[in-house]
């Protein structure tokens, strides 16, 4: 099913389609939120839930031009940045946070954490075959033969999928990571 067809079902409020989204993307979205929230498990739970609720409220804006997971992570990013702003306002720390930090390690940690969130986003925005191949080969260190068996393709075809998947991953990741660098520089 194309992203556009899924978008149409979600916009029609189809409960089964939404349940599929929750089942398929709930865990990767949690992992994304976990890194985005600076490895805070409880904040990640809240952020994921808020993201799904906001996605239902704003599904009319989703046209299917970008992968659904990328659209969800966009919402999560906005929600996380709103939460950070609220926290700062509540604590009256605007001035303190804007000042150059004496110890750069928390900033560096947040940046590293956001980078890992970007890895998750990139991975789940790839076609499923690419994701399966990359995880099998580089996470689980499976041989190309095993990857081929997983994908139900020949050895040569699996090699080709792996090569295209690597290329797609780095293209997308570098594009996304430029954005992280820009925002963190502010």
């Amino acid at each position: 099913m194309t992203e556009e067809a899924i978008a149409a079902l979600l916009q029609a409020g189809d409960e089964t389609a939404w349940r599929h989204v929750c089942d398929d993307l709930g865990a990767p979205l949690y992992r994304y939120c976990y890194w985005l929230a600076g490895a805070d498990a409880s904040a990640a739970e809240d952020l994921r839930q808020e993201t799904f609720l906001a996605a239902i409220a704003g599904i009319a804006d989703y046209r299917g031009g970008v992968p659904l997971f990328a659209w969800l992570t966009g919402i999560a990013r906005h929600k996380a940045s709103d939460a950070r702003r609220r926290r700062r306002r509540q604590m009256g720390l605007d001035e303190i946070d804007d000042a150059p930090a004496a110890d750069p390690s928390p900033e560096a940690g947040a940046l590293a954490s956001e980078r890992l969130a970007d890895v998750v986003e990139t991975l789940w925005s790839l076609p499923p075959d690419y994701r399966i191949a990359l995880l099998a080969r580089y996470m689980e260190e499976e041989s190309v033969e095993c990857v081929a068996a997983r994908l139900g393709r020949s050895y040569k075809a699996a090699e080709s999928v792996l090569s295209r998947a690597r290329q797609a991953f780095f293209e997308r990741f570098r594009k996304g990571y430029k954005h992280v660098g820009r925002t963190s520089a502010h």
């Binding site: 409020g13 349940r19 089942d23 949690y30 992992r31 839930q49 260190e141 780095f170």
Partner: protein, 110 residues
């Protein structure tokens, strides 16, 4: 490192990135969390055709019961039964309607 293992710089970088990113906890949505999310879906209007098919048998049953209750041609026992069915149907209709409205409101409130 054997040929079977990743060995180019790009592959090694990818392996490190994936390992770090996937080290984060894996937590699918619980049934309660999914239910909460799905409960926020806007109530969908019932298609007119489906509504008609749901109402038609009830309306036919009520019409038949009223006709039988008013008709002098049917035996007294059947008339009594028809009156009971018609009265029960009429009495329960507002209760069912009220239950439906309440359910719809509670869905909207979420």
């Amino acid at each position: 490192m054997s040929d079977e293992l990743p060995h180019t710089d790009e592959e090694l970088a990818l392996r490190d990135l994936l390992r770090q990113a996937m080290a984060g906890p894996d937590r699918p949505l619980s049934a309660a969390q999914t239910a909460q999310i799905l409960a926020s879906l806007p109530a969908r209007p019932v298609p007119r055709g489906r509504l008609l098919w749901a109402l038609l048998p009830a309306a036919a049953c009520l019409t038949l019961a009223i006709a039988a209750a008013l008709s002098g041609a049917v035996p007294a026992q059947v008339r009594g039964l028809a009156i009971a069915v018609a009265a029960g149907n009429l009495a329960l209709s507002p209760v069912a309607a009220l239950a439906l409205v309440r359910r719809r409101r509670s869905q909207d409130a979420i």
